[in-house]
């Protein structure tokens, strides 16, 4: 095949490319501010590509490895040759009607440089720009950027790279979940720790109050004890008095209680002595 891009015709193509690019730019479709961030955890990914190309196999393999939660909805289309541009536009229109789509990949495996031209059609570029979800374009070459690449939200060098950009890594997400689990446990532990602390403080205050009250009571008690002590008959005995009691322990206070010969006991300050009443 003749390398069209290096011939005079290639120069014309370049001209057409620049003209279309200018038209897209004029409508703001190349504005970097238009670029949307990719959803971090996509569940439905639309794929517009050839159903029997290596591009699709690569996208499936990478997605299965990295993010098996995803559902890939393939809208098959030819990506090169006559009529491919119209087919791609129809496929993109179909994609727009899929419910709950998170993300789209438009992909193309290897191929000749001339075949890239399909993705420089203004219709194709505008259809890509009109997608309601973020789109990753993986149709160009390292050296040849297509207009489809320029209007897409993200440009990937290969279909595999597109699938990598589209998906989080399962291992990373599991690690993230483990971190959240650890924070959850620490959060609760800290919370219960604070409750325990509060209980401790309350307990301390409670026992503190009790102790102060006990202390006060102890003071009162020792005051009372002092007063009781002063009233104690033992203190009177100390001053030289004696207490007379009969054998049954009754206190003998009057003369009539002392018949002649009665044995009784005398309590003095340091003990008791046995005594007997004499004839008076």
């Amino acid at each position: 095949m003749v390398d069209l891009l290096s011939t005079e015709a290639g120069g014309l193509w370049q001209l057409a490319f620049e003209k279309t690019k200018a038209a897209l730019a004029k409508d703001g479709l190349l504005d970097p501010a238009r670029k949307r961030p990719l959803p971090p955890y996509p569940l439905r990914i639309g794929v517009v590509t050839s159903p029997d190309g290596a591009a699709l196999q690569d996208i499936i393999a990478v997605t299965a490895r990295r993010w098996p939660l995803a559902e890939l909805l393939v809208v098959p289309t030819r990506v090169q040759g006559d009529g491919a541009a119209a087919e791609i536009c129809a496929a993109l229109a179909l994609l727009c009607r899929i419910e709950g789509l998170d993300l789209a990949i438009i992909g193309r495996g290897g191929g000749s440089r001339e075949d890239l031209w399909t993705f420089n059609h203004e219709r194709v570029a505008r259809a890509v720009a009109a997608l309601p979800v973020p789109v990753i374009s993986a149709v160009g070459h390292e050296t040849d950027v297509t207009l489809c690449d320029l209007v897409a939200d993200v440009r990937a060098p290969t279909p595999s790279a597109a699938a990598e950009a589209a998906t989080p890594d399962l291992g990373d997400v599991l690690v993230e979940l483990a971190h959240l689990g650890a924070r959850l446990a620490r959060g609760l532990a800290a919370r219960s720790g604070r409750v325990a602390e509060r209980l401790d403080r309350t307990f301390d205050r409670l026992t503190g109050t009790l102790e102060r009250r006990l202390e006060r009571h102890r003071h009162e008690l020792s005051g009372l004890a002092g007063r009781l002590d002063a009233l104690s008959p033992l203190r009177i005995l100390e001053r030289g008095y004696a207490l007379a009691r009969d054998e049954q322990g009754r206190v003998l206070k009057r003369v009539v209680q002392f018949p002649s010969g009665l044995r009784f006991r005398l309590r003095v300050t340091d003990g008791e002595v046995a005594a007997r009443a004499e004839e008076s």
């Binding site: 995803a70 393939v74 098959p76 709950g100 993230e176 979940l177 959850l184 620490r186 919370r191 219960s192």
Partner: protein, 77 residues
């Protein structure tokens, strides 16, 4: 469309989990609330992990029938 059954998308599940963790860390809950949140967090964590480990990528083909209706079928590669 099996995934339509899931009441929350994975991203929403993760968002909720993060919210729970942040609230638990913010320390302004009473113990009852904290325990409730913790339990919900553990449950969501379990669900998310299960979802991740049980998943197998699904590949479907979307076509348009003669009447212009969407037709989704399994993709045989």
């Amino acid at each position: 469309m099996a995934r339509a059954r899931d009441p929350l998308t994975f991203a929403q599940q993760l968002d909720r989990l993060e919210e729970i963790v942040r609230r638990l860390e913010a320390q302004e809950l009473d113990l009852d609330e904290a325990l409730k949140l913790f339990e919900e967090g553990i449950e969501r964590l379990r669900e998310a992990r299960e979802r991740l480990t049980a998943a197998e990528v699904q590949v479907k083909q979307v076509l348009s029938d003669k009447g212009g209706n969407l037709k989704v079928e399994d993709f045989d590669d």
